[in-house]
Amino acid sequence: MLDEDLKADLQKRGIFVASFEDLYNWGRKNSLWPLQFGLACCAIEMIATAAARFDMARFGAEVFRPSPRQADLMIIAGTVTKKMAPLVVRLYNQMPEPKYVIAMGACAISGGPFKEGYNVLKGIDRYIPVDVAIPGCPPRPEALLEGLIKLQEKIEGQRLFGPHRARHADTSDAAEYPVPAYGAHDLEPPLNPRIFQPKPARRDGE
């Protein structure tokens, strides 16, 4: 690791020193290609974010790809119904590493207003790992941009080597998550215990 003081000192003299990791992450964070799909009303805000007024191209993320094979970022924009959840997990599995997930809006995070309904998944984080969660119903385009910037910060800080390396750099971890099956009463299994542990329900003071 390069000493930060030395780096700053050299930069003042017009010499730019960077590690391979920094350059690699700088390139990655400024060319995030989202997967082009929307699930509900949040998708309208996502479209507005990509359009001229908010212009996601300013952050290098305007290239919406209609194929998971060419996408880096999955924006879960809207309510994930139980009928749709296996397809979302399958699309995630089909994306190449490194890949990231933004859960956009209350429904994608927790089921939102439909949480106790019979047909809505109580948050996509039950099946796939979520990097950034954006609350709102739906979130404003500014909020989605803020979430994108947060994701860029996360990518910038990811290590590629060593014990604290990012998930995608760890070849021992196959980033495939089991696709739930349609059951007689619910999805089976109702959550992936490897990535989602329900919090104990309790009242304060109990």
Partner: protein, 203 residues
């Protein structure tokens, strides 16, 4: 509404049609048709009375319920007749109901509410499909089948439309219980609190 009822009774004297009045301020009365006569009545409504558009089909789940009625009984004791008021409980068995909202584009009238009831909620859940009469009932009868479990005999393609094919419940029925996974509530209360406590004790 009454003219429609009289026209049906005049043309189809054997059909069992009765008027269900709505006592509320909306006064949305409806026609109750026996399942075996529904197809015939529907065709008469479309062809002779001009109800050419079926805008809505839905279902209602009626649980078995008890009604209390006050009955006056005349008793004679020691030669003196007295009126005794008695409260009698009567049980109405449960049934499912398909509701059709009909309009006439030609006559600019409507809606006419048509109701068809099944025999019970468990085994006899069939009513005749009115999709052959009004094509627009197709998807909505499938929805009523999916969510209420009403079987529409004669429907060209009776499959689930919203839930997946492997699903076995009918979620809009009043006794439907969603799969229990209330694993996190910030402030559980009432029924959810009881479920959470039962789960904690079981674990």
């Amino acid at each position: 509404m009454n003219e429609v009822l009289e026209a049906i009774r005049a043309a189809l004297p054997s059909a069992g049609v009765e008027l269900l009045t709505n006592p509320g301020p909306s006064a949305q009365h409806s026609l109750l048709v026996r399942p075996e006569d529904a197809r015939e009545v529907a065709e008469f409504l479309r062809d002779s009375l001009g109800f050419d558009f079926c805008s809505n089909v839905t279902g209602v789940d009626w649980l078995p319920r008890k009604v209390k009625e006050t009955v006056v009984r005349r008793e004679t004791a020691e030669g003196i007749a007295t009126d005794v008021k008695e409260t009698v409980e009567r049980e109405i068995p449960g049934f499912l109901e398909a509701v059709y909202h009909l309009y006439s584009i030609a006559k600019k009238s409507g809606p006419l509410t048509l109701r068809v009831r099944t025999g019970n909620r468990e085994a006899d859940v069939s009513v005749p499909s009115l999709t052959p009469v009004w094509k627009s009932a197709d998807f909505q009868e499938r929805e009523a089948y999916d969510l209420f479990g009403i079987r529409f005999d004669g429907h060209p393609d009776l499959r689930r439309i919203l839930m997946w094919d492997e699903f076995s419940d009918h979620p809009m029925r009043k006794d439907y219980v969603a799969p229990d996974d209330c694993e996190y509530e910030p402030t559980p209360h009432d029924e959810i609190l009881a479920r959470v406590k039962a789960r904690t004790e079981a674990a």
